[in-house]
Symmetry: C2
Subunit: 120 residues, 2 copies
DNA sequence: CAAACATATGAACAATTATTCATATGTTTG
DNA sequence: CAAACATATGAATAATTGTTCATATGTTTG
């Protein structure tokens, strides 16, 4: 096999050109890759995970979430905004309160898959 | 991680004590919550997502991964270490190279769930 | 309307983290 | 063994991000 001359690779490595081309074709669009990473980033914080577990159990207002997590109302509100933007949670107004709830079942499934992976 | 002045919260807000207690009981152990967040944090970076998509297509050496992602060998190696620690990838030695591959099918399932959520 | 309440938000700070650079480790080959 | 190669790693830096604090917005109720 001949050495491949690769302009980008300054050092002389034995790049497998055919393979790299195949991998490149298998790669989704940058937009999708970015969106996927952004989605998982939302799950990658224990405060937000705890909020999701709370909402697994019951629809809950911000105040009770803050009390449950032993955090300030502000911190919880900031995190709820992120969860909302990722369409993982939604909310309805009830009197003075905003009651948050899970947007759909993907949330549960994704977290269940994560739990499965961890138990090994 | 954050400590809140609960006493103040109780003075000002109408906490639903029964509900908060129920939510508290529904919450998994801190260890599990932490591990879950750590796992998803690993998925929450587009470089690591791209590495995983490459490995979906084929087992690959570090050098070809670096070329495919158009990144330095060092950067890829650092990220592979994180993926390895999370048990998402593994590797075998073949001659001079280290061939990385997906550790198990959870990886695929988790990413598929993420893609499903995004397409809406 | 005013007071009380519930939630949201902007700015600042501290902590985390991805990449780069330089170099080390370990393997193969002549 | 020495040279070449493939990968790993430590330190430094820049960028990102979670929490706090102060305050704003918007609702309900007397």
């Amino acid at each position: 096999m001949a050495k491949t001359d690769v302009a980008q690779c300054e050092e002389v490595h034995e790049i497998h050109r055919d393979k790299v081309d195949a991998l490149h074709r298998a790669m989704p669009d940058d937009d999708e890759l970015y969106d996927l990473a952004e989605l998982f980033k939302v799950f990658g914080d224990s405060t937000r995970i705890r909020i999701l577990f709370a909402l697994f159990a019951a629809d809950t207002c911000v105040c009770d979430l803050a009390e449950t997590l032993n955090m300030t109302q502000s911190a919880v509100s900031h995190q709820l905004k992120i969860l909302k933007q990722a369409k993982l949670v939604s909310f309805r107004k009830e009197g003075k309160s905003a009651i948050y709830f899970l947007a759909d079942d993907h949330v549960r499934t994704i977290i269940d898959m994560g739990r499965e992976h961890i138990e090994e």
